[in-house]
Each structure stands twice: as structure tokens, then as C-alpha cells.
Amino acid sequence: MIDLIGYGAFFLINALIFALITLGLNLQWGLTGLFNVGVAGFVAIGAYVSALLTTPDDPARFGGFDLPILIGWAVAMAASSLAAAVTGFATLRLRSDYLAITTFGVAVVVQLVALNAQSLTGGAFGIGFIPRPFAGLAENPLAFNLSNLAVVAAVTLVAWLALEHLSRSPWGRVLKALREDERAAVSLGKSARFYRIQAFAVGGALMGLAGAVQAHFIGFIAPDNYAPMLTFQIWVMLIVGGSGSNLGAVVGAVLVWAIWAGSGAATAAFFPPEQQARAASLQIVAIGVMLCLILLFRPSGLFGDRPFRRRLGLKARKPLETP
């Protein structure tokens, strides 16, 4: 029983970290219509920045500044949002696909840096000894997991409330106006590009925060954690939950993570060890097919509150229709 609660808490911590990333993506895509295919890159920036600032001094690489965890989190948010703002600045005046391609490139480059800039990121071995909140309780896994769950839940709740508030604020209304009818919004004197860059940066900050929170909970990061697979998972979570809805983002994250962890455990139990890599790839196929099916048959997901908008991006043209 105690084990079950402990595992439940562990599961929820992971799920809520994904929910935090999904909330960031929801602000970018659901509210503003910006297509980010480099989610993993922005999460990685947050994780690495926070790890560098808070780990004890390590002669083998740059830093280890031994700063408090909260400072790590704050700088992680700033770094990821800066990266997002620069990406947005370069591409948001162009067609919406260009942002997709560029963010994809950002994720590739971030992974490359994580893997190769050994003196900064520890290379393929990653960074260890990242301070964990409530590390003093580590002797007692249940208390440790529950107290961390409280922290992660509080962070997610604050992010949610802030996003709900933002989406109803004048700022959020401008974003929605831009999404629904860009020409009308621009004619009222709102700079489409400026608002989009802001939304993209705030979403990036949330992703960076999630990366930092995850790094501090696990205590260890490596480049493999931030493969394109992560981006893909987050997208499935948002689409399943229903883009545009913060509730959908959180429910989608928990639900998809439950399916993911459950099917992972099932493959571990039913397949012999030498077949498990293959079984895991089948798991990805299933999730990919699921994403396509939802896009085809229920594009608004579970809680999506709106039909997908017609016009996207500054210069989006109506795509080609085939009879």
C-alpha cells in the first residue's frame, strides 16, 4: 500500500512536469497558433542552465556554482524564454512553417551542444549531483516523493492560474484576436509579430522551468533525455487533451503519460529482454498513429474548446484543395 502511494506520487510528479511543458506549448500553439517542433530543445536549455548554476563546483567542466535551486529555476526560465524570443524574432515575420523548421533546428543544435560541448555540459555522460529538493528526506522514499509532489503540484498550479489569468487579460485577448482574425487585430494597432514573440517567449519560459524542475527531481541529466521523442510526446499530450484548453493540457499530459508508462511496463513484462528495444519502437508507432487518428477524427481532442482556426501565420495561404 505504502509502495503504491509512493509510486503514485512518483508517477504524478513526472506527469505534472510533462503537464507544465504541455501548458507552455498550449500557450504557444493553442492560444497563439505558433508551431514549435523543438520543445525538447527549450526544455533542455532550462535543465542544463539550472544544473550548471546549482551543482557543486566540478573541475572537469565549466561551473558548478552551488547556487540555491530557486535561482537555478529562475535563470532557467529566463534562458529558455530568451532562446524562444530569438527564434521567434528570426522567423515570425515569415510563413508559419518556417518557425516549425527553425525550432526543429534549435532542438537539433541544443542536443548537439549538450552532446559535444563537454567542458560545459559534461558531454554524453551528462551532469550528475544536481541538488534535489528535500534531499534530506531521501532515506524515506515516500516522504521524499510526497514532498516533491507537493512542490511540483504547486508550481503547476501557479502556472495554470497565471495562464488562465493571462488568457483572459487584455494581453490574452490580443493573442486570441490575432489568432482569429489577424487583419482586424492589426488594424486596431496591435503588432502581430511583437505579441507572438512575447507568447512564444512565455511558453519557452514554462518549458525551461519544467526542464529545471525535472532535472532537480531526478538529480541527473543527459543529452538522451531531450531527444525529438520528447517533443513528440508533448504534442500528443496537447492534442489528446485538446489544444487551446489549459485543463486539456494537464489532463492530456497525465493520461498520455499513464498510457506511456503502462505500455512501457507491459512491454517490459511480456517481451524477452533482447526484444524490448523492438517492442519499444512499436510503442512509438502506436502513439504516432494515435496522433494522426485524433487529428483526422477528433481534432479538438478531449477538452479543446474551439474548432481549429482557418488562417495561420502571417502569410499563410489557403492550402491546396484536391477535389
Binding site: A277, R278, G288
Partner: protein
Amino acid sequence: MNLQFVVDGLLTGSMIGLGAIGVTLTYSILRFANFAHGDFMAWGTYATLAVVGAIGAMVGKVAPIGALSFGWPLIVALIVGCVLTGLMALALDAVLFSRLRSRGQSIIVVMASFGASMALRSLLEFIFTSRPAYFSRAIQIAMPVGFGIRVTPDQIALLVLTAVLVAATHLMMTRTRTGRSMQAVSQNPALARVVGIDVARVVRATWLLGGALACVAGVMVGILVQIRPLMGFDMLLPMFAAAILGGIGSVPGAVLGGLIIGLAEAAAVQFVGAEWRAAVSFVILMAVLLVRPIGLFGVKER
């Protein structure tokens, strides 16, 4: 200075360029960035590998042609692979892309292609595992051709093949009825329809051509490097960068963009370090987007 990197760059550039033709055509005619294009490449290569294996099982061992590392089975298999890849692209369009396209949501199509790319790649890993495969394990002797450059017979053959294919594609786009219809649809779909162009036919031609060229590019990678399920996905960023650098919709632009990126990658390997190779296309992409977003031969959108 060792000029070997020029040959390496031209070869990498040919592979990127051939792939980028498909990307640029899909982008300009169907109006979406196809993230599954790299996986067409990988699937085409594995299909070719499977056909080579089947031919080998039927007729036994075949002697390679001249100094090349492969015999006629690979050439036959490549043609079959091209057709299969084109058909696969058509099938994916029929079950997924065309339905989303008809709803008029261009960015949803991009997302669907991202999902399809993950599924296709993992399916390859499931079927063939992630162990690398090879068309031939024979080692070729590189011949010196002056200036300190050495090339293998395979490399020469593939460079010639690329040149022929690019010329043929360019002629097709500019001289044949199908090619001109494709250009018309890419410039103005509504007007193209008004003058009686069969848009569905143009869409089919785009997928077949893009798929076939992706297969050739993949097989080139397979012959010169190795065959892995991730091979196409790793080429995706260079292909996008090449298509944008050359100017969306321009076939010569895509090839030139591919060659520039290939040469830049090879130069980076020589002067910076092989581990930073993948960052080259990103740097070029960002530079193009900031300085000249329509690319070298692009036209302003109307």
C-alpha cells in the same frame, strides 16, 4: 591544404540536394513542410535493400559492374525502390494528408507529417532493428585524381547519376506538360484550376517524383555510408535548409542549396570538427531567414 573535403562535400551535397527537390516541391505545390520526407528516404533505402536481397536469393551472386561495388541487381532494385517509395508517399497522402488538406488547415498537415514521421521511423526500427545494414561490405580502392584528391568508382558513378537526375528533373519541370502544370499550381492554384489543369494529377506527380528522388538520395547514403532507420531523419534539417536556401519551389535552387550545405558541412568537418557537422545547416538556415528569406532563386509570394 587538403582538398579532399571538396569531393566529400559534393557527395553529401548531392544526397541533400536530391532529397531537397522533394521537400521544395511538396512545400511549393502542396504548401506544407513535410517532416516525413526524411523517412521516405529511409523507407526507400530499406525497400531497395530488400529487393536486392530478393534478387540475390533468386539468381545467386552477381558480379559487380567493372570497378563498382554493386552489380545490376542494385540498379534494378533502385528502380523498384523508387516506384515503391513514390507509391508509399501517395498512400500516405491518400489516408492522411489529403484529408487534412481538404479542411484547409495547412499547419495541421505539418503536425500530421511529424506524427507520421515518428511512426514510420519506429516501424523501420521494429522491422529491421537499429543495427546498421550495408549494400556491400567490399572495400573500394580510392584513385588519386590530382590535387591530393582521391575518389572511389562508386563516388564518381553517383555524382554522374545525380547530375543526370537533376538535369532530367529540370527538363521535366520546364519542358513537359506535367512539369509546367506543377509550376502553374505552385504559383497560383486557383488560376491553374481555372485554366483546366488537373490538380489531383499534379499532386500525384509531385509525390511520385519527390518519393523517387528521396529513394535515390537514400540509396546513395546507403552505398557511401550505411543504412540505418534514422538516416532520413538526420538528413531532414539539411534538406529543409537546402530547400529554403535555394528558394522554395526552385529545383535548381534546391540542388545548389544542397551542394552549398554539403560543402559547408565537409569544410566544417575538416576545420572545426566532425561532431559539429549537424550544426552547419542550422547556421545557414538562420542566416538565410534573417538576410534573404526568399532564398537564392525564390520568388516573392503572391
